[in-house]
């Protein structure tokens, strides 16, 4: 079935791939579909930048939350907090986008119009992928043998040294693969970026500039695209899929290579 999906996407993309200089898709930055220019560089870059902002924010905070649940939180808080994270994890992305649009955009708009921007998309995406980071890191911490903690305690090693120098390195492979999964999710996410990134096709120059990502582009133009234009949207879908797959494969490789996985 995976083959079927990829096949359909490739067939859809074929007219564009064959008729065009295919390198131009990712090197050319002008996207004027009505004039037959299908350069995706700006949107690709926007996608990647949004993802990077999201993960830079989500990875440290998410891992800290996992540490909080696993080692710091008192037993009573622990369960409730976990539930809160699970709630956040189940939040539909369209709802997050709505919140970003109706609550955050007006806020940012006050000091830097239009408000919808690269940065904001990154922040809202961060909220979306944070639970992924937290839950995978938590699972990584929980799968560490308890003896490790006993050993550090028996040596009189302070808790934060224990966590930073022993437990995090021991869980690192699983944590990294969790972060990669979260990155893949961020890259493939459509609704949030569609709603809060601003959707202006331009080469991203500043954090507060509105941008359009590949995913948002597909969602916006699919409805009316025809012929080569449609085919090139399929190409962007293909690029996305390949990027996401590469990340997922690396993630599963890292995880399976590791001893404590």
């Amino acid at each position: 079935m995976l083959a079927l999906i990829i096949a359909v996407i490739i067939i859809g993309a074929w007219p564009a791939l064959s008729s065009h200089d295919s390198i131009a898709f990712i090197t050319d930055k002008s996207w004027y579909p009505l004039e037959g220019q299908f350069g995706m560089l700006s949107m690709l870059l926007a996608s990647v930048l949004v993802m990077i902002i999201a993960i830079l924010l989500a990875a440290p905070i998410g891992i800290m939350c996992a540490i909080f649940i696993a080692y710091i939180a008192p037993a009573r808080i622990q369960k409730g907090y976990r539930f809160a994270i699970a709630l956040l994890a189940g939040m539909p992305s369209v709802v997050l986008g709505l919140w970003g649009l109706t609550v955050l955009v007006p806020l940012i708009n006050k000091w830097s119009p239009p408000g919808q921007s690269l940065l904001l998309a990154g922040i809202v995406l961060c909220i979306m992928i944070l639970p992924t980071v937290t839950l995978t890191s938590l699972a990584a911490f929980k799968s560490l043998p308890e003896t490790l903690q006993h050993a550090t305690s028996a040596l009189g090693i302070r808790q934060h040294v224990q966590i930073v120098n022993v437990l995090i390195p021991a869980a690192s492979a699983a944590i990294i693969s969790g972060v990669l999964l979260a990155m893949a999710r961020a890259l493939g996410e459509t609704m949030v970026v569609l709603m809060v990134a601003g959707n202006v096709v331009q080469f991203p120059t500043g954090l507060l500039e509105p941008v359009r990502t590949l995913t948002a582009n597909i969602a916006l133009e699919m409805a009316y695209a025809t012929d080569l234009h449609r085919a090139s949207l399929f190409v962007s879908g293909l690029i996305l899929t390949v990027l996401v797959l590469v990340m997922m494969l690396i993630a599963s490789k890292i995880k399976s290579d590791n001893h404590y996985g």
Binding site: T147, L148, A151, A154, P169
Partner: protein, 276 residues
């Protein structure tokens, strides 16, 4: 047993099997341990003598390991465990709540049944505890690591690959590394919870020799299921047994007495293999 040479000095190897003056290093009074509401160990009184090896024997589930973990307050890490009684160490009751646990555990080290090296390099395994006690000088750290690895007989085997992940060592090597890791802090007392039971016979013999070589330099308390081993290494021995579903210390004394002329019926039955 050749009794009493002139005491001992820390850091100097005394001859095997020579025992030391019986100076209590730890004194345990009326110690009881409960998990939730279940009493697992009741009313234990004994002295652990300085520089000697004290073996704790008895069937599984009679509270030996619980007893051992009260001595460096590892019981704190078990949810629902509560301990009552007194354990005197340098005239302080270590069971008192406001005690500096970090310092206590640096003075009283512990070795676990299953070797538990950190999944870091061999070098980092040993350097981490040293950094924690404030030793930052690289040369000093290197020197201490070399010394302690020589002490446990690992230096020859690993000195050219200190960067290797410790979890790649064999089981016996891992356990010796764990002992080295405890020794590098220069503790006064070492608690060992069946340190050989997860090892193959050959590694087990190597670790046992190592334990014997610690006599006189460190006070060692070892929990073991292996009676022959207890007989070989220990100066003192304590026998634990379940009575009415509660663990109790039945007999304690010089290891030779306990094994050869046990005072208690149960002890006699156990050491002769008739029970347990």
């Amino acid at each position: 047993m050749a009794l009493q040479t002139k005491g001992f000095t820390l850091g100097q190897l005394t001859e095997a099997k020579t025992c030391c003056e019986p100076i209590p290093h730890l004194s345990v009074h009326n110690l009881s341990v409960k998990y939730q509401h279940k009493t697992v160990l009741e009313n234990v009184n004994l002295d652990i003598y300085k520089g000697c090896i004290t073996a704790l024997i008895g069937p599984s589930g009679c509270g030996k390991t619980s007893f051992l973990s009260t001595l460096n307050r590892m019981t704190d890490m078990i949810a629902g465990a509560s301990v009552s009684g007194k354990v005197l160490f340098h005239d302080d009751n270590i069971l008192n709540q406001p005690i500096d646990l970090l310092t206590l555990r640096r003075q009283i080290g512990m070795i676990f049944q299953k070797p538990n090296p950190f999944p870091l390099s061999i070098y980092r395994n040993l350097a981490l505890p040293l950094r924690e006690i404030g030793i930052k000088d690289k040369q000093l750290i290197d020197y201490k690591i070399e010394t302690v690895l020589k002490d446990v007989g690992l230096w020859q085997e690993v000195h050219h690959q200190l960067d290797m992940t410790a979890t790649k060592l064999s089981g016996g090597q891992q356990q010796r590394l764990c002992i080295a890791r405890a020794l590098v802090l220069e503790p006064e007392i070492l608690l060992m919870d069946e340190p050989c039971s997860a090892l193959d016979p050959i590694s087990s013999a190597v670790v046992e020799d190592l334990i014997v070589s610690l006599r006189g330099r460190y006070t060692v308390v070892i929990v073991t299921h292996n009676l022959a081993q207890a007989k070989r290494v220990a100066n003192y021995a304590g026998f634990f047994w379940m009575q009415e579903r509660v663990g109790k210390l039945v007999e304690f004394g010089r290891s030779q007495h306990l094994f050869d002329q046990p005072q208690n019926e149960l002890t006699a039955a156990f050491v002769n293999g008739r029970k347990g």
